[in-house]
Subunit: 109 residues, 2 copies
């Protein structure tokens, strides 16, 4: 089958294979984020003073933190539990969702 | 001198002694945050994909993370260095500054 792929198609597939974030699905991430909203808010702004805002954080940062909670490198009573059953796809989708939220800041006078 | 204090004045002093955040100074935090802006942005929105947004995060969360970096409980190549010389007042002021920034989110259509 490979010989039917154009050069560009082959390149895109190789890129997707090398970069898990390329397969990330923000819409799927929004659905998967349902359990996150209790602390991190529907809009990614935290409702719990022990939780950070996630809206507009880079996908790279969110993915690294979820990986770190999953591996135990970073520990938190809530997040250690929340992250332990996330797949790499779940993590990529959640990172895509939260990083897609556009944030603006009003600076104090 | 204590006998010249009103009840309310005494109460305020006891409260400040019990709650380090009561002494936090957001304006001082803005000045102290100069070295943070390279990665976390002038407005608390990260310029570096390895760094999180800080704008509007709770003072409690920011304080806990800086304490954790300072103690070594949380590790990061940049933040371990940045946090090690921060005093408790520095941390309270930085937390007051970033938490004072008002954030709004535009949800995707």
């Amino acid at each position: 089958m490979l010989r039917y792929l154009t050069g560009a198609g082959f390149f895109a597939i190789m890129l997707a294979a090398l970069n898990p974030a390329a397969a990330a699905d923000a819409a799927a991430g929004k659905t998967k984020a349902a359990k996150c909203t209790v602390c991190h808010g529907l809009d990614g702004l935290a409702k719990n003073p022990d939780a950070p805002n996630l809206a507009g954080d880079s996908a790279n940062y969110i993915r690294k933190q979820l990986d770190a909670y999953k591996s135990g490198e970073r520990k938190d009573p809530q997040m250690t539990i929340m992250a332990k059953d996330l797949s790499d796809d779940d993590i990529a989708d959640l990172a895509a969702w939260y990083s897609s939220l556009k944030v603006t800041v009003e600076m104090p006078k």
